[in-house]
Structures are given as structure tokens and as C-alpha cells.
Amino acid sequence: MLIKTPARSTLGETQTTPEAAYVSRRSVIRGLGAGLGGLLLSGGASGLDLFGGDKKEAAGDAPRKSLNFSPQQPAPDLILTPEAKVTNHNNFYEFGTGKTDPAQNSQGLKTEPWTLTVEGEVEKPGTVDVWKLMHDIGLEERIYRMRCVEAWSMVIPWVGFELGKFLARFQPTSRAKFVAFQTLYDPEQMPGQRNRYIGGGVDYPYVEGLRMDEAMHPLTILSVGLYGKTLPPQNGAPIRLVVPWKYGFKGIKSIVKIKLVEKMPPTSWNKLAPNEYGFYANVNPNVDHPRWSQASERFIGPGGVFAVKRQPTLPFNGYGEEVASLYKNMDLRKFY
């Protein structure tokens, strides 16, 4: 099989929607608000417009706040996934295993106040107030491809900050080899943690992990927002991990604890099905999932069912130039 590693400039299969265009399109739709918006809301129960538009927040949605951030220059070859699809197509088993369950069941999640504890192999362990942090720290936009292990993908404008810079504040020791993350454990608020059937049989709390060099890589961010506003609960409010060259399930949501450790920490999907989900979970078109090919993916972009495009999956999700060196002596078929 021919293995092609395209240069960064050739990564995009598609064309960018410049930020100005999506902002203006949104404002046009907002402008129509009173008339058309009302019509859309009353018409479609899900509020999803598969023909490329954007949706206003549905009445019951948790309020999202605007964020101050430095916008990213429009990335050359990427079309953004419409906001309504980013917020209505989620895996967050704590709120149910269906793709629309999280949006329906998470709106009551209490995300304010929210504290995040950093502990383990650090000189200065501590706890931060996430909402204070997101206003004090310099936020930037990162328009990233997101590739789900289920072979669909999106392009999402996250807002956040580099995990590495954040961890540096706590002064990691030389013994810190891995970073372990943990999601909120609160069965009262999260029905999937109360009931194995709703929660897909995952052993909660959800945990994830990175190697230290992966965590310190400048592409790895903690995200607190998308599309210029704070995260909705179904996308992992108020703070989540985004590692763009790995399958989406590595991006642990609603994080409450980060622990720096010496040994490779357990990860939730690896515990559930080790033959299907490895620790590294690097996007790799040459290593199939046991039940489907990873060579290509359905891109969830603007448009309806007949506009869905199948496109080739890129090694490391297109970030190979930046991150391939992290794995240069590893057999990625073995360490998947």
C-alpha cells in the first residue's frame, strides 16, 4: 500500500470559510432573528439546519458567554463545521450514548463555579478557579480538525490556551512522565454515571492520559470555548482537552483534576475495549479499527445528507509535520 505523507500545505481537501464570512453569515441569520429565527425554532424540534445555516440557541440551552480571545488567521484549507452540528452531535456518555443525548440531558449541569486541581509530580500543586482563569489567561482561537474514532470528522474553532504553558505554572518535577486527567464524577447530575445502561457500561469517572511530551506540545490545548463563546455542557464545559492529532475520545471533557504521574495512567476506553482503543489513539489511516476502516472519514460540514463528503484520513489527522517526531522510534501498529 502506498503511504503518502502530504506536506502541510496540501493537507486541506476543502476550502476555508473565512472567519469574516461565517461571522457575517451568522449576523445575517441573527438579523433575521425575530421573524425567520422564530419560525425555525418553532418548526424544527432539534433546531438543526442541515442545509448549511446556523442555529440560534434553543430556548432551553444553557447560556453561553462571549470570550475575549485573539482570533486565528483563517486557516488555509478548512471549512468550518456549522456550530449547530458541533453542539448537537456529541459523544459524552455521562449524558447518554446517543449522539443527541448529551445536548438534551446536560443543560442542567452546574458549571459555575468550577475548580480544577493540579497535583502529583509538581513543585507547586494547586487548585484554580476555571472561570477566573479563563478571564485572566490569554485566550486564543485554534481552528482544528477533529477526527472521531467512529470515522466522522469536523473542523471546530476552539478557544483556549496551551496545556503546556498552563502546566508549567505548577512546575512539573523530573519524575513527571505522564499526565492523567479526570472528568467530574457526580452521579446526581450525570445520569450515565447512575445507570450503566444509559452510560454505555463505562467505568466512571472518565479518565484519560497523555505522555508528558504530548501534553507539553504547543498544539495541545485546554479549551474553554468554541465559536467565540464558552463551551456548552455537551462539549465539555467549562474546560476540556483538545489534542488535534488524536481521535476525539482523547479530548476528555469537563475536567476537574489533572495529576502528573510517573507511570502510564489508565484511560477509560482502553479499559473498556483494549483491542479497539489504545492509549495513544493517534489518528492513523493505516491502522483499521477492528470493525471499520480508518482510511477515510465522513466530514460533517455545511449542508444536508447528500452533501456529506467522504475524504481520506490524514496521518496524525494532518498534523504529522508537527508531531510525527514524537513517535519516531515507535511501531504505531503496536502502540495504537
Partner: protein
């Protein structure tokens, strides 16, 4: 008198079969246009069509034993429309996978057919339904004689393949496919004499 009314009932049921199989497709057409299929509508569409096929197959399998135990032979007139609708739904399911999921990328399609056993099972099931649909042309039925019955006994195989295909395709949760498989086995058990007779027909010389 009773015969006439039974004919009328069977006729009405036949219309009911057409409406029942067509309406969900019209709903699907509406749902696609109204964006009711969620963020990844392709997968939703494929699952909807696949589940519909399995339900229609089970319904088809129900007809003969029911006609026999109710002494209501005219019910057998439902078999052909039901069978043909099974083929239509299975073909839509299969085409959605070919065109919308895999984007008619034939090398990928070939690779997936060979590599994923559950896809091969589904494909085999579709081939059987194709053969049964073609041979339901009345002229062919007459021409084939006994062989027609032999061929159409493959419906038993198709139902089991469809359930097995469903079982192996799910990511987690085996309860739902198990329910369908148990229903299929019970329906086959109900007509076990016909099934045994069909299997024996292959042993006999022509």
C-alpha cells in the same frame, strides 16, 4: 359469503402493506429535508433503512404460518408485496451505504466487503433478496416450477443473515439484536415442518 369477505380482507391488508411500507419512506424523505436526522444524518439514514428491512423480513416470515393456523389462505397474497418491499428497503439501505457513506469509492467498497464479515453477511442477504425479487415475475414462477420453491426457501437464510449482520454491526449493547434474532428463530420454529421439507428438497433427485 365468508370466502368473499376473506378476499376483501386480504385485499385491504394488501393495500395496508403498501401504505405501511411506503409511509416510513415518505417520512424519511421529509426528515432528510427538515434536518431531523441529526449531525451525522448518513448513519441515521442507514440504520433506519436497515431496521426497517429486518422488520419487514420478520413480517414476511409471519404470513404463511399465520394463514395456515387461521385457515385463511388468502393471507398468502401478502407474501409477494411484503417480499418485494423487503427488497426495496434492503436496496435503499445498501445504496445509502454505497453512495452516501462510502461515496461510491469502489476500491474502498470492495475492501470493506472482503474485510468486514458483517458487511459480507448483509451483502449476501441482499443478493438473496435480489434473486427472490427477480423470480417473483409470474412468468418466471411458472417456468421454474419446483425450483421456484427451492429458491424462495432462501428467505429463511436471508432472515437469519440479516439478524446476524445486525448483531455484528453494533458497537455496544447486544440486547436489541438479540431480540430480533429470537423472534426470527421463533418464527422459523413455528414453521419448522416447512423448513425441514425445504432442506430435504435439496437431497432429492429432480
Amino acid at each position: 359469503m365468508a370466502a368473499i369477505s376473506k378476499n376483501a380482507v386480504a385485499g385491504l391488508l394488501q393495500i395496508g402493506v403498501h401504505i405501511g411500507a411506503l409511509l416510513p419512506l415518505l417520512w424519511l424523505f421529509y426528515a432528510i429535508n427538515a434536518g431531523r436526522l441529526g449531525g451525522d444524518p448518513v448513519v441515521e439514514l442507514i440504520h433506519y433503512l436497515g431496521m426497517g428491512t429486518i422488520r419487514l423480513l420478520l413480517l414476511t416470515l409471519l404470513v404463511s404460518p399465520l394463514a395456515k393456523s387461521l385457515r385463511f389462505g388468502q393471507l398468502n397474497r401478502l407474501r409477494r408485496p411484503l417480499g418485494l418491499w423487503c427488497f426495496v428497503w434492503a436496496s435503499l439501505h445498501f445504496s445509502a451505504w454505497l453512495a452516501l457513506d462510502l461515496g461510491l469509492d469502489w476500491s474502498l467498497i470492495g475492501e470493506e466487503l472482503v474485510k468486514r464479515t458483517y458487511i459480507l453477511l448483509g451483502f449476501t442477504c441482499w443478493l438473496i433478496l435480489l434473486a427472490l425479487a427477480i423470480t417473483s415475475i409470474p412468468a418466471l414462477l411458472r417456468k421454474m416450477g419446483k425450483n421456484w420453491k427451492k429458491l424462495h426457501g432462501l428467505l429463511y437464510v436471508a432472515v437469519l443473515l440479516a439478524c446476524w449482520h445486525f448483531w455484528w454491526s453494533v458497537k455496544s449493547g447486544w440486547i436489541e439484536p438479540a431480540i430480533y434474532l429470537v423472534v426470527a428463530l421463533l418464527l422459523l420454529l413455528w414453521r419448522k415442518n416447512s423448513v425441514i421439507r425445504w432442506m430435504k428438497s435439496f437431497g432429492r433427485s429432480h
